[in-house]
Symmetry: C2
Subunit: 347 residues, 2 copies
């Protein structure tokens, strides 16, 4: 799949680039703490004892303790999570982008004019260098391939793809590549009155198809990038049609904007994994009241992937520096998580 | 206030026009039904016995009866309400627009260049005809007056205005001009597992300031028109700044788009009052499963206002025809509501 990593998504201009170059780096969090919060092993069984888990449990205890100065009323307990690389894997290429490329391939028979298109030829030939040369053309193909259909048709296409596609090297359905410790954290937060949201650079429709079933996050709590849709009556039926035009990029500085626009409250907890999450973390850490900012550090080449500063996908560089400078919690996959994927995935 | 009604809002191009010409028209709903649903008078005390109340109670009973073919699971019980003219009054001019004009007046001392501006002179002189002639210029003034500030500053400005401003003819704070029967309906729906949303052409920030306190609808369930906001660090503090640029118009065909983008589920109940709600009602009525589409008809000149087909504000013409043709529930304020405003407002 490496060749695919050099293309560009339709929806997030920031994703332009080649696929992950991995780089090992020392873990930051995961230092065993002197004191473990009570019951942490019961509520977060896939989290190892350590600074990261302690910070989470302490924060939840703090904001739920009525009468304490750190108490936060339930309707302000807003927790926002990035998706790619934070709730599920993102290597060697954002799973959503794999879907988009598959859509281009699937649409090819209806587009004989693509026969001589250099981007399509590069895609068909798995020619990474040629794809790099024809990025802009590839974006146009993606736009054509996933526009013009109704949102219900698009929804079905995503469902069908997720039901059958498997990760190229891990050989599991993508929805089994979610992180077990994060599923536990989401449930733990909700059990403590938090409302959990996804705030991702990925498109809303792709995530919404599985977010409720897999993460327990309903569609109305999924914030993402979006393509313009247009309302029209088609054969007397009210219909929303996908237009080949970008609407909103929910990435980088777009994340606080998306949070403001869709939630209208400042989160008290934000969890990301890359520089695309920096502003969301800053915005959350800018809370005058209690708050918790966390980053997943992908440092586990054996069980998942190891990448950070040099990676084109999920690059963690500026946000890492800021986390270190400001004391945000950096979660080491290797040290802080004793399980990566749910056991249903065969782990 | 008549002169103000001829200006244009910054956020909703469709609102251009003069203020409401009122017109009496025969009530459509409100015919006493042979059978009253049990307990309706207890849960909806401000709704008179009749077809409209019966339709609501029957629908709620239908979708909540487990095992019945009309059962709808709680997570699909999405109810969407227009705001202006559906949840509170909107005459002689959308209350939000009164705020925007007051903001222009308040900003004037900081803008000596407005001294000779024909739109500002018309506004200051309450010269309706001149305002009509300088609509575009007025929009620019509004854009300048409510841009450049942080979202928190803007939020404070709205709060301050709502706390002190009073309706020009009804002499009550605007937040006391909400409809008591609708407050009961919102509570009744929520008690029956519905999630209630506002889907309005008004801007989200204006509604969010009072929607939770007054309607019980939290900010994340308010969908509206929006202006572009930009993330930036200001004095080391993460900040969202208002830009003088329209982002999204949540009116007319924009309403199903806003619903799709922000909720991602098709509503089962939609309540509007004007042609701006037509597409939202069509979209909801396009549900294959159980659904209920309702319209408030403003036919109560004595207790509120009477206007419909000829009104520039809250025009009800095409949506009314479609409601009659399709059997949507048309709620007569005069016949179906025994109270208009909450008693705290002195009624």
């Amino acid at each position: 799949m490496r060749l695919l990593a050099c293309a560009t998504t339709l929806v997030v201009a920031a994703l332009i680039g080649a696929c992950a170059g991995t780089q090992e780096a020392p873990a930051v969090a995961g230092t065993p703490a002197a004191q473990t919060m009570p019951a942490a092993s019961a509520v977060l069984p896939s989290w190892r004892e350590g600074r990261a888990r302690d910070a989470i449990v302490k924060f939840v205890n703090d904001v739920t303790r009525e009468g304490s100065p750190t108490y936060v009323p339930p309707d302000e307990r807003i927790a926002v999570f990035d998706n790619d690389g934070t709730l599920w894997s993102e290597q060697p290429l954002y799973f959503q982008f794999m879907f988009l490329l598959d859509e281009v391939r699937a649409a090819a028979p209806k587009h004989p004019e693509w026969r001589d298109n250099p981007a399509f030829l590069a895609l068909a030939a798995h020619d990474q260098a040629a794809l790099e040369d024809h990025k802009k053309e590839l974006i146009k193909l993606i736009a054509v391939a996933n526009s013009g259909m109704t949102v219900d048709e698009y929804d079905s296409a995503i469902r069908a793809w997720l039901a059958s596609a498997k990760h190229p090297t891990l050989h599991r359905p993508y929805t089994q590549l979610v992180y077990q410790p994060q599923l536990e954290l989401l449930a733990y937060l909700r059990a403590n009155g938090f409302k959990t949201f996804i705030v991702s650079g990925g498109t809303i429709e792709f995530m919404r198809v599985f977010a409720e079933r897999v993460y327990g996050i309903p569609p109305e709590q999924v914030i993402g990038s979006s393509q313009v849709v247009k309302y029209e009556m088609r054969d007397g039926k009210p219909t929303l049609i996908r237009e080949p035009k970008l609407d909103f990029v929910d990435d980088g500085p777009g994340k606080p904007v998306g949070i403001y626009r869709n939630i209208g409250k400042k989160p008290v907890l934000a969890f990301g994994n890359s520089d695309g999450d920096l502003q969301m973390l800053q915005y959350t850490a800018g809370q005058t009241g209690p708050h918790l900012a966390l980053l997943v550090h992908h440092d586990d080449a054996a069980r998942e992937f190891a990448y950070d500063r040099q990676s084109k996908i999920g690059k963690l560089d500026r946000a890492w520096d800021e986390a270190l400078a400001k004391g945000w919690v950096v979660v080491s996959m290797k040290d802080d998580w004793n399980v990566i994927y749910p056991s249903a995935a065969g782990q």
